[in-house]
């Protein structure tokens, strides 16, 4: 991923603010899985994992891991009160039927229309879509957490994705190590910046036009 744990945690903490009491939320692999650690103040939030868990809790303490209780990334989790286990067809039944209020995913590219590309890098190893197509297409809200730019410093937020799409016009919010950007009918709106980045730096590292909200949130 290339980002330090502090920066990854800051992105996850900001994403956790998007979650309201009572929501059913699916967390993707990588930075999104850290969001589960920032939900102390939420009531009745149920975290779903597509490998067959509804009601994930915090990460277990070292030594208390259960090898048969892991999230979709293969890392040990705990469960909260009211949790349940089920097979993969039920897991995706919940997703396709529209019970997931929010999915928080990683991305390779996002377009100003909210198109999501996160499953193929041409000329490199093809990871496959996993469960991302169902989640992107069927969750009520799609939030993307990612690095603002690639390892080579190229923008990942652009007018049109150049990589094969996972799903069209599905992303509603992008949170990166530099900014918080909403995808709206009027295009991308910059609503927050991650200190110490400036609005100018964010505009410069984004390959799509950004409208700037009057009152910008600064996240430390």
């Amino acid at each position: 991923m290339g980002l330090g744990i502090e920066i990854r945690s800051r992105i996850a903490r900001r994403a956790a603010q998007e979650i309201s009491d009572g929501m059913i939320v699916n967390l993707g692999i990588g930075i999104p899985s850290l969001v589960a650690n920032f939900l102390e103040n939420k009531k009745n939030v149920m975290i779903q994992a597509e490998n067959g868990i509804l009601g994930i809790g915090k990460s277990p303490a070292k030594g208390l891991e259960d090898k048969n209780l892991c999230n979709a990334g293969g890392y040990p989790v705990t469960v909260c009160e009211g949790s349940s286990y089920f097979d993969s067809s039920i897991a995706f039944g919940m997703i396709r039927k529209g019970y997931i209020d929010m999915t928080i995913l990683g991305a390779l590219q996002v377009s100003e229309e909210g198109d999501l590309a996160n499953w193929i890098v041409p000329g490199k190893i093809v990871p496959g879509m996993g469960g991302a197509m169902e989640l992107a297409q069927k969750a009520k809200k799609v939030v993307v957490l990612m690095n603002h730019v690639t390892k080579k410093g190229e923008p990942k937020i652009m007018e049109t994705c150049t990589l094969p799409l996972t799903s069209k016009a599905c992303v509603q919010l992008i949170i990166t190590d530099r900014a918080v950007i909403e995808v709206t009918n009027e295009g991308l709106v910059l609503t927050g910046i991650m200190s110490p980045f400036t609005v100018e730096e964010v505009i410069h590292s984004t390959a799509a036009p950004l409208k700037i909200r009057k009152e910008i949130e600064v996240i430390f």
Partner: protein, 227 residues
């Protein structure tokens, strides 16, 4: 009740080189370690594997890929196994991707005697919809996703009785109950074999009718990514 509990040597003849096998598990969790090890030791090869993913290089089903025993995989994801990605690039491993929920339903369809399922997942995605029939039902468009079946399924459970009634353990359930139904011959590797009548009939996830053989696991012989 049928006596399905077997020694591993008795069941391995069922798995032939060149055959299609379903392997339960998700990121290695719920893969049957003892059966995978036995396939490696027997030299079984040219397999077509239907699995959620290709595990990690030294974990679960990933070991079969790493050891060059697999010619084709039908999966949703290979990202956690760079060796699978490299073999795919080199043209040594054929990879067919299905969106994960679609893969689960294709297996379930095969397991319950259906020819396929209709889904709109990936319908506007040129890679996913390529070569698939579009069917209109009740005024909406769907992709026709065909059912998957296999010669053998090797799955992992927590407990079995002698009839093959199965319960699973937490997130190690994943694709296992679906695959148990979808193969001509299903071998369940379980943590414990319990006396008939001791499983609560209300809690059984896979009825034993779908299971042809049960073996006791020797346990996982790999280190998990988090260890």
């Amino acid at each position: 009740m049928g006596q399905k509990v077997k020694k591993i040597e008795e069941v391995l003849d069922v798995i032939k080189s060149g055959s299609t096998i379903m392997i339960g598990g998700f990121g290695g969790i719920g893969n049957p370690p003892t059966l995978i090890q036995a396939i490696l030791e027997r030299g079984i090869r040219d397999l077509t594997i239907i699995c959620n993913d290709t595990g990690f290089p030294a974990i679960g089903v990933g070991k079969l890929i790493t050891n060059g025993r697999v010619k084709k995989v039908i999966v949703s994801h290979i990202g956690s196994n760079p060796i699978a990605g490299r073999l795919m690039e080199e043209g040594k491993l054929e990879v067919e991707f299905s969106p994960q929920g679609t893969l689960a339903e294709r297996i379930r369809a095969g397991g319950v005697g259906l020819g396929g399922v209709l889904t709109d997942v990936g319908i506007d995605n040129e890679i996913v919809q390529k070569g698939k029939k579009i069917v209109e039902a009740d005024g909406r468009k769907y992709l026709l996703e065909t059912a998957l079946t296999a010669d053998t399924a090797i799955i992992f459970g927590k407990e079995s009785d002698h009839f093959g009634n199965l319960i699973y353990d937490k997130s190690a359930r994943n694709m296992n109950p679906l695959m148990a139904m979808a193969a001509d011959y299903t071998i369940a590797e379980v943590e414990s074999i319990v006396p008939d009548g001791s499983l609560d009939a209300e809690s059984i996830i896979t009825p034993g009718v779908f299971v042809q053989a049960v073996i006791k696991t020797d346990g996982v012989n790999w280190k998990w990514v988090w260890e």
